[in-house]
């Protein structure tokens, strides 16, 4: 084995060790308990295998003479056209590593990892055995964790009763994991099949090819899942023990998400129409099928879908980066709260008494308050819009962020008006024919189901309006403005009006969402409207696929739904979510379900500008300038001196 490969293997081992150390430090072994060690070894094996797969791609790249440019240093996860080349890469893997090389590679990497893990766990064990508590420094390094890491009982750690064999065993286990990875990669058969299957699957998901049987199976998935969820919900049916609620939620999320893919898989025309109607029926039946927990989560998901759709108008369509979108959400929520809560704010109560209205009964019901909340939010949108008309890019981002914070701070500090941090309590619920939904539907629809249903209806409405507007001349003007503001203006787009419309419409939708949120929460507090809501809304449209309503639904399912499923691992919830967010961005930067327009865009606008015209690319400085302007999301404008 050449020296280069050996150092590569050691490096791989070190990286695996770094990753495993992280897991150990955050207390994963203790959490897994007894079988922690094999689990860690398996994780290492998986990592080695992935690494082997990637390393084996290198020679083929060199062979074809393609120097890997530092700029497109992207992992080979692309789907679509590039996926086709993967098959050949895999074949290369078999050729280059046909012998014992990968096994030795895996062995070396595994030995490195195992040795380090053994040393570190030995140090921990020795320290604890001698009565030194590491925990005050490293919170999760408790005896339980270290014990699980070595595969003994905590008592043995405390008494320094850990035989040396244990550490040898640790090293051997990881070495074995490395060999396993090497075998899998070299043996090829298994690895190739699995990889090819994954490749095929991703190709299918992107809608390139699919046999009709597979297609129908895929299309049936959401309905099968829905049926299963409904069956699970029947009285007397139990499965998954105490996790049933969580499992059902997960299935609900998958069913809803796969429905969106189903729509993409179906053939345009009558088939699609039928599928759409069926899916619509399926989705609208959910509030009646799910239990309170799933309904409440799905309600929140669709409230965020509304937010996402509104923010998408501002960010996705008009290209105005807004980090303070929560402001309008808050305005909608507080407007409704003022109107509907038996409220003790001195100012408002005083005003009401002055007007001869009892402050104890709500002023307006949900439906009457809806236009008020929307209008207030829209006015807020315009008020924010006017001062920021001239700002571009990141300047806009920070000002909107500031605006969001200002609104929150006012809600927090204007105690006489908003009740300050104690919030507004007992906000009334939306009525159905003047009664509670539980009564009208004879218990079929729970209060949370009703909220979910309302969120669904409102989201559908918002999606409809947003899509229609985007397909009209206003949508074209937004898009033109996003592409090149100066040229758009010189082509006849009234920038002020167009921008303000984007802000106002986006804000209106957020106001609707805020009102529903207030109704869902019943009590609202300024802390519900922190910067993180804006970040969540932005993240979900980007994760889902900016500009694409289906993507936004998917993004909301992933970002607001999945964390609820991950409740079981409570303290690891946010770390997992954050890591997924980063990985997601690297693996699919265009989002899970990107919009058609978005997909056309090549990754770097600068390159895209030149791609169409290779022969002229160096000569014409203007072209570059043009590309650069696009790259910065703004045109080139000299400020009037």
């Amino acid at each position: 084995m050449p020296l280069e490969t050996a150092t590569g293997a050691v490096r791989t081992g070190l990286i695996a060790f770094a990753f495993l150390s992280y897991l150990i430090l955050i207390g994963i072994p203790g959490r897994i308990g007894g079988p922690a060690l094999p689990v860690l070894a398996l994780i290492a094996a998986l990592f080695f295998w992935l690494k082997l797969r990637r390393e084996s791609n290198e020679p083929s790249r060199e062979a074809t003479g393609q120097r890997q440019d530092s700029f497109d240093d992207k992992p080979g996860w692309e789907i679509g056209p590039r996926a086709a080349s993967k098959g050949s890469r895999l074949r290369d893997l078999l050729h280059t590593h046909s012998g014992t090389a990968p096994i030795l590679y895996g062995l070396l990497a595994g030995l490195t990892t195992g040795l380090l893990i053994a040393i570190v766990s030995g140090i921990f064990a020795a320290a604890m055995g001698n009565g030194i508590a590491i925990q005050p420094v490293l919170d999760k390094i408790v005896p339980l964790n270290v014990a699980a890491l070595i595969g003994v009982s905590p008592g043995q750690i405390a008494q320094s009763d850990v035989s040396f064999i244990r550490f040898i065993f640790q090293v051997l286990l990881f070495a074995g994991a490395g060999v396993l990875a090497g075998l899998t990669a070299a043996g090829g058969g298994y690895g190739l099949k699995q990889a090819a299957f994954l490749d095929r699957l991703t190709t299918h998901l992107s809608g390139a090819t699919l046999t009709s049987a597979g297609r129908f199976a895929g299309m049936a998935l959401p309905f099968v899942l829905l049926a299963y969820i409904a069956w699970l919900g029947l009285p007397g049916v139990t499965a998954f023990g105490t996790n049933e609620g969580t499992v059902r939620l997960l299935l609900t999320l998958i069913a809803t998400g796969s429905g969106l893919f189903t729509l993409r898989l179906s053939r345009p025309g009558r088939e699609q129409m039928a599928v759409a109607v069926l899916l619509g029926l399926g989705v609208f039946s959910m509030p009646f099928i799910l239990d309170q927990f799933q309904n409440s989560v799905m309600g929140l998901v669709f409230i965020f879908v509304m937010m996402g759709l509104g923010l998408n108008i501002v960010v996705g369509y008009a290209g105005l980066l807004d980090l303070g979108y929560v402001a309008f959400f808050a305005i909608g929520a507080y407007t409704y709260a003022f109107l509907s809560a038996p409220f003790s704010s001195p100012y408002i109560s005083g005003l009401l008494i002055l007007l001869g209205i009892s402050p104890e009964s709500p002023l307006l019901g949900y439906w009457m308050a809806l236009p008020v909340a929307m209008l207030t939010a829209a006015v807020g949108g315009i008020l924010l819009g006017i001062p920021v008309l001239r700002l571009r890019g990141d300047y806009l981002a920070i000002v909107t962020l500031g605006f969001g914070e200002i609104i929150r701070l006012f809600m927090l500090n204007l105690g006489e008006l908003t009740n300050g941090p104690r919030g507004i309590l007992e906000i009334s619920q939306p009525a159905l024919f003047g009664h509670t939904p539980v009564d009208v539907t004879f218990g079929l629809l729970s209060s949370q189901g009703w909220i979910f249903l309302l969120a669904l209806v409102s989201s559908a409405l918002v999606a409809f309006v947003a899509t229609r507007l985007n397909e009209s001349r206003l949508g074209r003007a937004w898009f033109a403005m996003q592409e090149d503001e100066d040229v758009a203006e010189a082509t006849g787009v009234h920038l002020v009006r167009t921008k303000l419309l984007a802000f106002a419409i986006g804000a209106t939708f957020a106001g609707m969402a805020g009102q529903l949120y207030a109704a869902r929460q019943i009590n609202i507090f300024p802390e519900n409207f922190s910067l993180f809501v804006s970040i969540d809304a932005l993240a979900l449209i980007i994760v889902g696929g900016i500009g694409s309503p289906a993507g936004i639904v998917l993004g909301a399912l992933a970002l607001k739904g999945l964390p609820e499923v991950l409740r079981g691992v409570d303290e690891y919830r946010i770390v997992t979510f954050a890591a997924l967010l980063v990985i997601m961005m690297i693996v699919r930067p265009d989002g899970i379900l990107p919009s058609a327009r978005r997909r056309i865009q090549s990754p770097d606008p600068e390159e895209a500008g030149a791609a169409g015209e290779p022969e002229l690319r160096e000569e014409d400085p203007g072209l570059r300038e043009n590309g650069e302007a696009l790259a910065k999301g703004a045109g080139v404008r000299e400020e009037d001196p």
Binding site: P387, G402, I406, L412, L538, A578, L581
Partner: protein
């Protein structure tokens, strides 16, 4: 042709001129209002001069910290045009590491030694904090940002937000939820008392060190080969690479510089305010970002002055305007909005803005 071009013309010209007039009048009105308010409050409260000096010093120290962090934002922005949202967390890592280094030094008894030992130990602690920040900053660049260099600009932002949360909660999981309290050595506890003005030693150190570090940075960027390469990459990445500049290396160095400054800020803030925990980088990070934008993002002197102005406003604003201090962030953000309305590219941002904003 539209139905009534004449009317449109009249409305257009008048409207535009009126808007400009209105903005200008608004600006003057706001300035006058603020002056009036400050004067009346000042007269009514009758704070002594020493009070204003104290507040200004508080503001300058705060501004010094913001400046060190803001430079990291601005450096990265100048070169990659991305907001490194996790930069505040890089600072926090510096602070946390500095805490453990201090623990170590205390256990060795270095903190009770003669003053040269203490000074060397303090410098070492700061260096360790900076090194940890550099490691995290560079890792961040390698894992979370480099793969996204060609992606639309929102994508690295989201990745950065993910990284920010990841770092925060990893620190929470690894080092626990409790805040870590720095124990200042006797050498730098207390402060200088000049009449009614009190200058904490740590505050003075922060201010002086941040100025020195910024000067060093300025020197690196203006006078060294490395600085030239950085400026070239900032100007045009692909041309720079054609000219033989190793773009990746320059970007890594940029992250190293920014992270080192943030790490230094983290350690010094630890000594000054004595408490660090997993989320203690977030708010200063946000403020520093605001400061960077205030000064004109991508512009190094801009970040420095923006940060000092922001610090001063936060410290003096509530007293001067006679409103409760919980509105200090409102004042800071309102100032930002106002400045950007009248100077859409920040205080010092025009040079870059023409090309990149």
């Amino acid at each position: 042709m539209t139905s009534s071009p004449v009317k449109a013309q009249a409305a257009g010209t008048d409207g535009r001129a009126a808007l400009k007039q209105f903005t200008r009048a608004l600006g003057v009105a706001i300035v006058l209002l603020v002056i009036w308010r400050v004067t009346t409050v000042g007269l009514a409260e009758g704070y002594p001069v020493s009070f204003w000096i104290s507040q200004a010093l508080n503001g300058l120290v705060l501004g010094g910290v913001y400046a060190l962090v803001a430079l990291g934002y601005t450096l990265v922005y100048g070169i990659l045009f991305m907001i490194n949202f996790a930069h505040g967390e890089v600072m926090m890592i510096g602070g946390i590491t500095g805490f453990f280094a201090l623990q170590f030094a205390q256990a060795r008894g270095w903190m009770e030694g003669p003053w040269p030992v203490v000074v060397v130990a303090l410098l070492l602690i700061m260096f360790v904090g900076m090194a940890a920040s550099v490691v995290i900053g560079v890792t961040l660049e390698r894992l979370a940002y480099r793969p996204l260099r060609q992606a639309p600009r929102l994508v690295p932002l989201i990745s950065a937000i993910g990284a920010s949360l990841f770092l925060q909660y990893s620190v929470l999981l690894i080092f626990g939820v409790s805040p870590h309290s720095y124990r200042k050595p006797a050498l730098i506890s207390g402060g200088l008392r000049l009449g009614d003005v009190f200058i904490p030693y740590t505050g003075a150190i922060i201010f002086v060190t941040s100025i020195l570090l910024m000067l060093a940075l300025f020197f690196i960027i203006q006078r060294t080969k490395l600085g030239r390469a950085m400026r070239a990459v900032a100007e045009d990445r692909s041309t720079a690479s054609l000219m033989g500049v190793d773009v990746n290396a320059v970007i890594v160095v940029t992250f190293m510089l920014g992270s080192a400054l943030a790490g230094a800020a983290g350690v010094m803030l630890g000594f000054h305010n004595t408490v660090v925990k997993f989320n203690s980088g977030f708010i200063p990070g946000l403020k520093a970002f605001t400061a960077a934008v205030l000064g004109g993002i991508g512009n190094i002197p801009g970040a420095m002055f923006g940060a000092l102005i922001l610090g001063l406003i936060e410290a003096i604003g509530p007293s001067a305007l006679g409103i409760p201090t919980e509105y200090k962030d409102v004042i800071a953000f309102t100032l930002l909005v106002l400045i950007l309305i009248f100077r859409p590219t920040g205080l010092f941002g025009e040079v870059l803005s023409e090309k990149k904003a």
